[in-house]
């Protein structure tokens, strides 16, 4: 097993000496931490919303969706359609990317007429937590509409790694 960069290793027409490969490794090792995305920040979803969102961890939400007792919260997926079609949290509803006006519009329509005490969980899982473009707009919109019982599913990396790979139940849709 060796580690290469495309620029140095993929093409036979560029003769690459083993020493050059070794140097590539060194450069990669030295610079990688600088470019790594690092440990996810748990503050990103909140930075401009005026109040810290209450987070819910995947294992907590699993218990809720599996529990036959109690009123289940509404669960909204504010990520992309292809992700939702492949796998989503059981009982969750597709809203769409809240970073786009259409997503916000669908969110508004969905919660129209609901009591402001309605318990809502939003999640995305498209990207690492600190890079997610959808959670914050969705959370802010729900807050602006007067909802206060909102929880945000904390997905550190993505839905695949933090939910599907852990063996949690999923549903698919067409």
């Amino acid at each position: 097993m060796t580690q290469f960069s495309i620029t140095s290793a993929l093409f036979r027409r560029h003769t690459v000496s083993r020493m050059a490969v070794a140097l590539t490794f060194v450069v990669a090792l030295v610079t990688a931490p600088l470019f790594a995305q690092g440990v996810s920040s748990k503050t990103t979803a909140d930075e401009s919303s005026g109040s810290a969102p209450e987070l819910i961890q995947p294992d907590e939400l699993v218990k809720i969706v599996q529990s036959p007792k109690g009123a289940r919260p509404l669960i909204f997926q504010v990520g992309f359609r292809v992700l939702y079609q492949q796998a989503h949290v059981p009982h969750s509803e597709y809203i769409g990317p809240a970073s786009e006006p259409e997503g916000i519009q669908r969110l508004r329509q969905r919660v129209q007429g609901l009591p402001r005490t309605q318990s809502i969980v939003i999640y995305c899982g498209c990207c690492p937590w600190s890079k997610c473009p959808n959670i914050n707009p969705a959370y802010k919109e729900l807050r602006a509409l007067g909802f206060r019982n909102i929880k945000v599913l904390y997905i550190a990396d993505n839905f695949g790694k933090d939910w599907v790979d852990k063996g949690y139940l999923v549903e698919k849709s067409e």
């Binding site: 097993m1 060796t2 580690q3 290469f4 960069s5 495309i6 620029t7 140095s8 290793a9 993929l10 093409f11 036979r12 027409r13 560029h14 083993r18 020493m19 490969v21 070794a22 490794f25 060194v26 450069v27 990669a28 090792l29 610079t31 990688a32 931490p33 470019f35 790594a36 995305q37 690092g38 996810s40 992309f80 359609r81 292809v82 992700l83 079609q85 492949q86 796998a87 769409g96 990317p97 970073s99 786009e100 259409e102 899982g125 498209c126 990207c127 690492p128 890079k131 473009p133 959808n134 990396d157 993505n158 839905f159 695949g160 790694k161 599907v164």
Partner: protein, 175 residues
């Protein structure tokens, strides 16, 4: 001297492999020498943004970087300019980058394509294609496909700035 260099390479490779496990961006090398461990990349035929047919198997003699992305995905947006540079730089050497957007709205993709002057083909993908590639359950995800059409690496997350770092074997089919 040769032995020392090889030993250094081996050690660094192991360290690098371990290091990648601690990054958010994950590279999953596909190890081994046979068809099972280097599966053929699922072929597809899609209509590209400019109306042309985009069929993966037509690129069989090239090294293909197949990138799943979306316009609203910030790590995707960060790495695409680097892909544009790579395509320009290594086009004559046989690199072909192919973008599969998972956006809902093709209009946004077209606008983005023009804005970034993307120089490689892009098509809109769907859940069926994503599932044929093992599920695209986060973005971006890239696959490195050798000239023989087989998948040699999968990278989940944004590629690094030094040139799409991938962990793979020193396999001649990739050269």
């Amino acid at each position: 001297m040769k032995t020392r260099v090889l030993a250094a390479v081996a050690i660094l490779a192991v360290v690098a492999f371990i290091a990648t496990r601690h990054w958010n961006g994950r590279t999953e090398p596909l190890r081994g020498d046979n068809a099972v461990t280097h599966p053929l990349a699922p072929d597809f035929s899609l209509t590209g943004l400019s109306g042309q047919t985009l069929q993966l198997s037509r690129y069989r003699s090239k090294v293909v970087l197949l990138n799943f992305w979306a316009t609203w995905c910030s790590p995707c947006r960060s790495e695409i300019p680097r892909f544009v540079d790579l395509q320009r730089k290594y086009d004559r050497d046989g690199l072909q980058i192919i973008g599969i957007s998972l956006d809902d709205d093709p209009k946004l993709v077209r606008a983005f394509y023009q804005q970034l002057t993307m120089n490689y083909p892009v098509a809109i993908g769907d859940a069926k294609l994503a599932e044929r590639y093992g599920g695209i359950l986060g973005l971006p995800v890239s696959f490195l496909i050798g000239r023989n059409g087989r998948i040699y690496a999968k990278h989940a997350g944004e590629s690094d700035r030094t040139g799409c770092q991938v962990t793979t074997r020193n396999d001649p089919t990739l050269k």
